[in-house]
């Protein structure tokens, strides 16, 4: 069914309709407008036409059509990312809106894997697995209500339970990818047609890794196989407060070294606490930094012992047990935490990775920039938060909020300086997209990027998959 008809101007319109259906293809500018941005403010080219494939065969036919006509393709998931990764860089692209491909394909309890179609959303998969007595490792980015599995693993997303399991791609065992020539490849143990998909590494080079974080430049992911774990029935939580950021860092790092938590979230800057969690530190005037831990185990005593150890680690560094409300809410409100912060204004993020021990120098630079632009007086609020990622690095989230359109110019000036500071202090963005790409390309080692380009050229000689991504210019 269609209400707003297609304009039928795109050269591939008729063929795309014959591959899919009239209701799932549109080049009308009203429809395309809704695909002009993701969840950040950055813009690139608008897609030339939107297609919503329903299955692998349709994706394959679309890719073959684009290969034959040398038409650019941009795959897109829930488009809730905050770096503009899903936006085409060249005109007339065919955008694949993958959200119709949302089925769980198989749950293999013997090999502890789940295979899903590319457009499955994190929240839904968690729900399905929970009902069946399982959990994922990485549980999805903070926008996991809308974010899709294939979208997240394509841009190295960070988020829930990364403290224990690492970023989104870490949980991937195998991918099904439609290559730019329309051929299909199954990675991991999927190379053996007689074998189950149960491991990522076997016999050959790790082909899965080539496509993880590729920002859609090397093919269209149609299925993802992820590791699963037994559901952990026992959860414990703790909030610790510290008189200095440095003390908090020591505890934060020690907890990670010992692998004690499912999730370790650290609120670094007291001055941003009220934006992040209003009222949290009102009763604790001397606390300058907090840590919030979530422990999940299949054994009750183990969960209780771990929280006890975390408390001891904190108290050894003059930390204070301040309850567990923030940790509980943090976990219970999974996927719903970020949205209320929009109330402060449109957000500008500097999310990136860095070793935990290098968080304080970032904070020093960020605070100086905040002061230089006198942002607080100008009504621009911020949060400075870090999420521990497996072992001893962290996703640092310094985010500022422009309350009105009129504040955007000032906020963007400060924000650009913050992005520079993040790179200059040893940060590595986890995703690239419009947000980080130019800065990353300035720093990237020539051999590194040339290797990627060699692979890209070999797989996609006509450069139809997400052209101009990783090339800069936006």
């Amino acid at each position: 069914m269609t209400v707003v008809g297609s304009s039928k101007n795109h050269p591939l319109y008729s063929e795309l309709v014959s591959i899919t259906a009239k209701e799932r293809v549109s080049d009308n500018q009203v429809i395309i407008s809704a695909y002009s941005k993701d969840a950040c403010h950055l813009e690139a080219e608008r897609p030339g036409i939107i297609v919503m494939p329903n299955n692998l065969q349709e994706v394959q036919e679309i890719v073959k059509l684009c290969a034959r006509t040398k038409t650019p393709i941009m795959p897109a998931g829930g488009r809730s990312g905050i770096c503009g990764a899903c936006l085409p860089r060249v005109p007339n692209s065919v955008m694949l809106d993958m959200v119709n491909m949302k089925k769980m394909v198989s749950l293999d309890e013997k090999t502890m894997t789940v295979t899903v179609e590319a457009g499955m959303r994190w929240a839904e998969l968690i729900h399905i697995l929970n009902d069946k007595g399982f959990k994922l490792g990485f549980r999805g980015p903070y926008g996991g209500n809308a974010a899709t599995i294939a979208g997240s693993v394509s841009i190295n997303s960070m988020g829930y339970a990364a403290s224990k399991y690492g970023p989104a791609p870490e949980g991937v065992i195998s991918l099904e990818v439609v290559l730019p020539n329309g051929e299909i490849v199954r990675t991991g143990s999927g190379w053996n047609t007689e074998a189950q998909i149960f491991t990522r590494y076997s016999s050959f080079a790790d082909m899965t890794g080539i496509f993880l974080g590729d920002h859609g430049t090397l093919g269209v992911k149609t299925k993802v196989t992820l590791k699963i774990y037994p559901k952990a029935e026992f959860s414990t939580y703790i909030d610790l407060g510290f008189r200095s950021l440095d003390d908090a860092m020591v505890a934060f790092e020690e907890i990670q070294r010992r692998g004690l938590t499912e999730e370790l979230n650290c609120l670094l800057a007291r001055e941003s606490a009220d934006t992040y969690f209003p009222g949290l530190l009102d009763s604790h005037p001397k606390i300058q930094a907090t840590i919030h831990s979530v422990i999940m185990e299949t054994d009750k005593e183990l969960a209780e012992r771990k929280v006890q150890i975390i408390r001891e680690i904190g108290e050894n560094i003059k930390g204070k047990d301040i309850g567990n409300f923030a940790a509980q809410i943090h976990w219970a409100e999974k996927f719903n935490e970020v949205q209320p912060m929009y109330n402060n204004g449109f957000w500008l993020n500097t999310c990136h990775l860095r070793p935990i021990y290098r968080l304080p120098e970032l904070m020093e630079r960020m605070r100086a920039i905040f002061k230089k632009y006198d942002l607080e007086k100008k009504g621009i609020s911020w949060i400075a938060d870090a999420l521990a990622v497996e072992r001893t690095y962290a996703a640092a989230w310094v985010t500022i909020f422009a309350p009105t359109r009129n504040d955007m110019e000032l906020a963007e000036r400060a924000w650009n300086e913050m992005l520079d500071a993040a790179m200059e202090t040893g940060g590595c963005p986890y995703w690239s997209g419009l947000l980080w790409e130019n800065r990353a390309l300035e720093k990237v080692d020539d051999n590194f990027i040339q290797l990627y380009r060699t692979i890209k050229k070999a797989i996609d000689p006509d450069n139809i998959m997400a052209p101009m991504v990783f090339e800069g210019g936006y």
Binding site: M1, V4, G5, N145, P278, V338, Q339, F346
Partner: protein, 525 residues
Amino acid sequence: MTESKFPNLISYKDELWLCGRCGDCSLADKTVASGRGVDHPCAIKNVLGFEAYSAKGRVMILNDLLEGKLEINQDVVDWAHACNTCKSCQETCMATADGIHMPDMVEALRKDLIVNGFTVKKHDEIENSIINEFNPYKETQDFRLKVFGDREFPPKAEVVYFTGCTSSYREKEIAVTTVELLTKLGVDYTVLQDERCCGSVLLRLGREKTFGNLTKHNIESINRTGAKTVVTACAGCYRTWKVDVVEAGYEYDFQVLHITEFLDELITKGAASFELKEKLRVTYHDPCHLGRHSEVYEAPRRVIESIENVELVEMATNKRYAHCCGSGGGVKGTYSNLANEVAGNRIREAEETGAELLLTACPFCYRGLRDGAKYIGSDIKVLDLPTFLLDAKIGKSMMKVKDEPLKLKFMEYLVAHPMIFDGLKKGAVIDYEFEDSRFHIEVIGKREVIAKPQRAENPDVELMFSPAAVETLVTFTSEDKYAEQFGKFFKEPTDSEWIRFNLRLNIVKLLMKGYRKFAQKAGLI
């Protein structure tokens, strides 16, 4: 320059800025996270597929229109009218305290489209019909009361039954059964001799010009009856009276109740009871104008649950997050197949419950769902609540009043210790639950609360207690000690003494209602 084309939409420019385009309004499934029960909130997007039909897409398109990146054309008109304005997106949205006001924005755009000369012929006809005959169906105003046959209504009564155009001219069964029900219940009621359209359909289509005249006429007409209460069985009329008339600045002295609220009051007072001969499993569809737009969720459920031999089972989406039936916002009249597709999806949800009967409480929903069932070939029976009740054995005070001493004790304790709620703003509502007992506390003033013995219509927070935790809490004479123990039960629960809660509003809205102090007193933060 472009903005001047949008005298109504422009007032939402700043709010459009606050949308973070997270996509919850389009794709969210929050059952896993916080028990909110959202599931792909936009019923229209669920049928039409493209992001453009969800609120997230609509925000981008509206911004493009305001910024001149899109010109108004017939495609924009078609798109603007493919929205049920059901408010499901807004209810899901957490970007602002109220959620992004997409239904209001869509209606603002519809007004601006008319300003710019882009009208829909069908809508012009509806407006002309209302201007000339005071109903949208091109029916003669003089025939409005024909639905009731020879029945005569007194000039004065305690209650006015405001019939509404759809029940008067189309879903006549609802009008007929409602008056029969009121008669059987012995209600002192009347029907207006000269009732006019409430104006709902005009407002939803972005047309306001005769709304004031309709409202003034209806208020005067009701006042002439001396009625203290107006009862309607139409969710659209109800929303108009409760929300639109008030927002437009008109005042009235009578109370307006939906038929489900009115029946709920009678049942609670012991003045009405219902019994079916045989056991029946039913499910209930929340009309958007009764639920999300007016926040009446529990009264219809209490009525249904009070009926002997009836079991109410909920659909996967219900109450605040119930999917729309597809009829609202002018969609039924403008795109009937789209409305049928949306209704068909809702029918499938009803079928999944295993219920034999789908109940609703609105003539639009009733018609839409019935058409939807037919459209997808479903056998499920659809009935409007008054029609269903008329088939039951009607009596008085048959309700079994449960003996709930702990509930009463807890309610009395909380009312006697209002300092527990110090800091909460007037209107804050907390729902309490332990075992099968449920009640709610409403803050009615500074350090003043009332306890009501049933579940709240739309609580801010739901608190769940173990009975042992309640037994302990009611022993404290000091509110501070109560709060301290309350926090302890949450932070350090045991198998027998525990507290859990669901936040039903987003954090921004909770803070605006004063919950920071409440949480701090309990040592939670």
